[in-house]
């Protein structure tokens, strides 16, 4: 039982269907995923989950990320797939970094606020500064949007 394989569960068809269904909504923002792009994102999701040692049941986080970020002024068709892939990786990483103390919606909301705000669409900036500080605040049990005292 504990050979670990069961921890990498996958319901690919359900995932693909959900992600494809999101196209109906994202079309009005000029964004859409092809079948290949969808399959690529689902594969990346599997790798991210494996790397972060997490198990996901149900429809997964990708549709939520799509709905949250599709109206961002910094996301357009050319960088859509890459951005979703990075956001997905970051999401699982910072779920772990925040010790599962925050809900999916809280983390996505923070990511979106930072991405559209201080990070101005930079995924590197979001990952290395905004999310890093956010996870630290969560671990310390501080208010999620409170500024930390600068000790320098």
């Amino acid at each position: 039982m504990d050979n670990g394989k069961w921890l990498q569960t996958a319901n690919d068809s359900l995932q693909i269907a959900k992600v494809k269904a999101a196209n109906d909504y994202t079309k009005k923002f000029g964004l859409a995923l092809t079948d290949e792009e969808t399959a690529l994102l689902i594969r990346e999701r599997k790798d991210a989950l494996k790397e972060q040692e997490r198990v996901e049941f149900g429809e997964g986080i990708l549709p939520k990320l799509i709905f949250a970020f599709c109206d961002s002024p910094y996301i357009y068709q050319d960088n859509y797939v890459d951005s979703l892939g990075r956001l997905q990786d970051m999401f699982y990483l910072y779920k772990n970094e925040s010790l599962d103390e925050i809900t999916d919606d809280e983390l996505i909301e923070f990511m979106k606020d930072q991405f559209d705000g201080p990070c101005q669409g930079s995924l590197d900036h979001l990952e290395d500064t905004g999310l890093e500080a956010f996870a630290r605040r969560v671990r310390l049990g501080l208010d999620l949007y409170e500024e930390e005292d600068d000790e320098f």
Binding site: G4, R54, V55, D100
Partner: protein, 282 residues
């Protein structure tokens, strides 16, 4: 009935949903393993009690697994309730005979278990280390099974000890070690050994030591038999003791007999090396 992992995954997924309050789509491997263990524990709970098994007429194995898990979970809850009732019955008259480990494990530890035990998400974790060493081995048990077995053992110990005067029990414990209050030892075994010693020596059970004649009788008794015969004789003595003093309580007899194997070897060794005072209140 054994299930494939895939048949159990929907139950784990459901538990994960309950655990996160549907606010997180993913959980860590560690948490997933814990939930899978919880499911397996409940299924084993159901399977371990054949008398309570029901005929399941479902053909869908996933449904069967879910139903068996549900029945096992109910069994866990019932077991917790029953153990709590037994604990509440013991605690008003519970005596710990100055032994701190006995007191801490039973009076402080067990209520904390009932407070923090999580039958839904971690029924396999009994939280406590159960430091007081009871005579029945419970180390292979987990969750409420371990606590239930432990409380039953303590219940039998209290039945046994309460029939004897406190002064006598404290006398033999002091003879065993002046630090008996701080040691992690089984009190029942020490008292039983002394009671059986008295029977073998043909002396009354009292706080006075052994006369040379009584000691000689005891040594003769031990030397007459090898360990196996000695154990058989002692089982007879325990049966007699339980019949005469404890209304033939069979469970108690079985419990007390769990110590006889070690006792026989130690007694033979003590006679050979002339150190009977290490196990009896000479």
């Amino acid at each position: 009935m054994s299930f494939e992992t895939e048949e159990l995954l929907p139950i784990v997924a459901e538990l994960a949903d309950k655990y996160t309050g549907k606010e997180s789509s993913s959980i860590t491997y560690e948490k997933a393993r814990q939930l899978m263990e919880a499911v397996l524990y409940c299924i084993h709970e159901y399977e371990d009690y054949p008398s309570e098994r029901q005929e399941l007429l479902l053909t869908d194995r996933k449904m069967v697994a879910k139903m068996i898990y549900g029945l096992g979970y109910e069994k866990v809850l019932r077991n917790v309730k029953e153990t709590q009732v037994l604990y509440n019955k013991i605690i008003p008259d519970f005596k710990y005979y100055e032994n701190r480990c006995y007191y801490d494990t039973f009076v402080k530890g067990i209520p904390s278990f009932f407070l923090y035990y999580d039958p839904r998400f971690q029924p396999q974790n009994h939280i406590l280390t159960l430091d007081y060493p009871v005579l029945h081995p419970i180390y292979s048990l987990r969750g409420i099974d371990a606590i239930s077995a432990f409380v039953k053992c303590i219940s039998l110990e209290q039945v046994f000890l309460r029939k004897l005067p406190d002064e006598y029990i404290l006398h033999v414990l002091r003879a065993y070690s002046p630090d008996h209050g701080e040691l992690i030892i089984n009190l029942t075994a020490i008292v039983l050994r002394n009671v059986l010693g008295c029977r073998m020596a043909g002396k009354r059970i009292n706080t006075q030591g052994y006369t040379p004649g009584e000691l000689g009788r005891l040594i003769d008794y031990v030397n007459r038999n090898d360990s196996a015969e000695l154990k058989q004789d002692m089982e007879g003595l325990v049966d007699e003791l339980v019949r005469s003093g404890y209304d033939g309580l069979e469970e108690l007899g079985d419990y007390l007999k769990a110590d006889l194997h070690d006792y026989c070897f130690e007694l033979k060794n003590a006679v050979e090396n002339q150190c009977l005072d290490s196990i009896l209140a000479i």
